[in-house]
């Protein structure tokens, strides 16, 4: 296959699909209780310099209790796949990210991310490699399929491709020009789900984003769940299992684990809290103060929820937000 063009972005995490097979072969397949705290999961499974990824979009199913713990433990020089809003902002503000495979880092309705701008424009984030959403998702899908790359038909002709690590080739079957994106195998994946059992079987309600792909593309997978249920609940509805237990290494019970993000059918996002962050993030000092108030100065997720307060969480659960936008009348 002739390579017509090579993106000049760095391939931050070169895939080794045979090593991935060996790794997956050795993963424990027994039904073992994998429940543990955020602190234990992060300290056992995430290391300085690891390539990690979170599965969510915007503020939906944001694994915030895990991300806050990463910040507390100061896991640094992280390489990360970025398709996020709140969780990436927090990691960037804490100065823990060294390299980014990114498609979108921003605050959606609130616009450009202040910390992302500061960290990239200052050069503190050393590497930004550009991709489209489909490219990132299909990179994870390639890993999930167990192949070294997938062909696709976007990115072509643009600077997005030029600053990616994709390649343009001539299709050996048709002669057409195609973009190839390399498989992305994560050291650690983080996914927040609606419910899991102690072994790691997981269900998601509503849209599933790219949870199925990221889960299967992760060497180590940490799941946090709104609630832990009995395995029998899965055996009664096996069609609902999006992540089977053998993919999963740690299971964390984290009610309101997505806060200030949302969980569909369970609670809406906390607009006031998000606005507090957006305001704080305008300046490096106030961003740090936010982190001290809500992350560094807090022992764990339970204490965080205590700080947010039962009353506010009840409102979010009932679909009431205390202010616009997104609020009920």
């Amino acid at each position: 296959m002739d390579v017509i063009q090579s993106g000049m972005g760095k391939l931050i995490q070169p895939p080794d699909i045979n090593a991935f097979r060996e790794w997956n072969r050795k993963k424990p397949k027994g039904l073992v209780d994998k429940r543990m705290s955020e602190a234990e999961a992060v300290s056992r499974f995430i290391h300085d310099g690891d390539y990690i990824g979170t599965e969510l979009y915007g503020t939906v199913r944001c694994p915030m209790s895990l991300v806050n713990e990463i910040v507390r433990q100061g896991k640094k020089d992280l390489r990360i796949v970025g398709q996020g809003v709140f969780e990436l902002d927090i990691l960037l503000a804490a100065g823990l990210i060294k390299e980014l495979d990114l498609t979108y880092v921003g605050l959606e309705v609130y616009g450009v991310s202040n910390v992302f701008r500061r960290e990239v424009e200052s050069g503190r984030v050393e590497t930004c490699v550009e991709w489209s959403n489909a490219a990132i998702t299909w990179r994870l899908k390639a890993a999930a399929i167990g192949v070294p790359f997938l062909p696709m038909r976007s990115m072509l002709g643009t600077d997005t491709l030029k600053y990616s690590a994709a390649k343009v080739v001539c299709d050996p079957f048709t002669g057409d020009t195609l973009c190839l994106v390399p498989a992305l195998i994560l050291d650690v994946g983080l996914i927040h789900v609606h419910r899991a059992d102690p072994y790691g079987n997981a269900q998601i309600d509503g849209i599933s984003g790219f949870a199925a792909e990221l889960g299967r593309a992760s060497k180590t997978l940490i799941i946090s769940a709104e609630e832990i249920v009995d395995c029998e609940d899965f055996r009664c509805h096996p069609d609902r299992t999006i992540l089977p237990y053998y993919l999963v290494d740690a299971v964390i019970e984290a009610p309101f684990g997505s806060h200030p993000g949302e969980m569909c059918y369970q609670y809406r996002r906390d607009e006031a809290q998000i606005k507090e962050w957006v305001k704080a993030s305008e300046d490096a000092a106030t961003a740090k103060a936010y982190l001290y108030k809500y992350v560094y100065g807090i022992k764990d997720h339970q204490e965080y929820l205590g700080l947010i307060g039962k009353e506010r969480l009840k409102w979010l659960r009932e679909g009431v937000s205390d202010e616009e936008p997104g609020g009920c009348p």
Binding site: T59, Q83, F116, S154, G157, E262
Partner: protein, 259 residues
């Protein structure tokens, strides 16, 4: 914005929404992002296009809006929807040719409809780092017809943009096909606060089709940083009707999150 005699008043955002809504026909598929496209889709559904199938990239397909989503993964993006799937299902459908319209935007646009939402300045030493492609590049590559929604001035509509995040007609006729993008796709309209623009069938350069109410052709030209082709007859876009504005204010965005 003041209008003649008894015509209702409206703000520039309301004008963009109403203009974009009129471009969406019934019983078709449209790739929708948050913000103006979503409001336009909702307005179109309530006016003339009840069977407009809205598709959100995180998996929401065919929602009927009651509340406005503020995130493309939010629950409202699949409220009473046909399907709640995932990003692969949506991107694969787009790549297979199932999605007719796509809405895109950016900080800069060039005469060929290429868009920049990545950086101002040099990529590796940016003056301003912007969010990046997100699904923009995919929408601009896969959808049959794309509609860009932008505010128009000489800093945004420029001859050479700093970074091509999302493909328009690249550098002219035949360039998309030569790059390997699916044939027959590309920019269809640019909706701005000043005009509705299309693309010249031969040169693929941006062409003024209609001015927004109260805006002169000269004003559009003065607010465009490149040579603008003119349609043989430049139309004047009718202002938002009282009915459009009522539905927009009372039903589509009743909490005035955007308008």
């Amino acid at each position: 914005m003041k209008n003649p005699a008894d015509a209702p008043e409206y703000n520039p955002t309301e004008l963009l929404i109403c203009t974009a809504a009129r471009l969406m026909p019934d019983s078709t598929t449209a790739f929708i992002g948050t913000g103006i496209p979503m409001l336009a889709a909702s307005l179109a559904q309530k006016m003339h296009a009840p069977n407009l199938v809205t598709i959100f990239e995180f998996g929401g397909t065919g929602a009927i809006f009651e509340e406005l989503p503020i995130a493309v993964g939010g629950e409202c993006t699949f409220h009473r929807a046909i399907a709640a799937t995932g990003i692969c299902e949506v991107m694969e459908a787009a790549q297979r040719g199932f999605i007719e319209f796509g809405f895109i935007g950016g900080a800069q646009i060039d005469p060929y409809g290429n868009l920049n939402s990545t950086v101002i300045g040099d990529h590796d030493h940016p003056k301003v780092r912007l969010p990046g492609s997100g699904g923009g590049n995919d929408v601009g590559s896969f959808c049959w017809q794309t509609i860009a929604i932008m505010r128009q001035d000489r800093r945004r509509f420029i001859e050479k943009i700093d970074f091509i995040t999302t493909p328009g007609y690249l550098n002219g006729p035949g360039a998309r096909e030569a790059a390997g993008l699916p044939p027959g796709t590309g920019p269809y309209r640019v909706v701005s606060n000043l005009a509705v623009l299309g693309f010249h069938p031969k040169s693929k350069r941006m062409m003024l089709l209609a001015t927004q109410p109260g805006v002169s052709v000269q004003e559009v030209i003065e607010n465009t940083g490149f040579e603008l082709a003119l349609a043989d007859r430049v139309e004047e876009n009718p202002p938002p009707s009282a009915e459009e504005l009522r539905i927009l204010r009372e039903e589509v965005d009743k909490f005035h999150l955007y308008i």
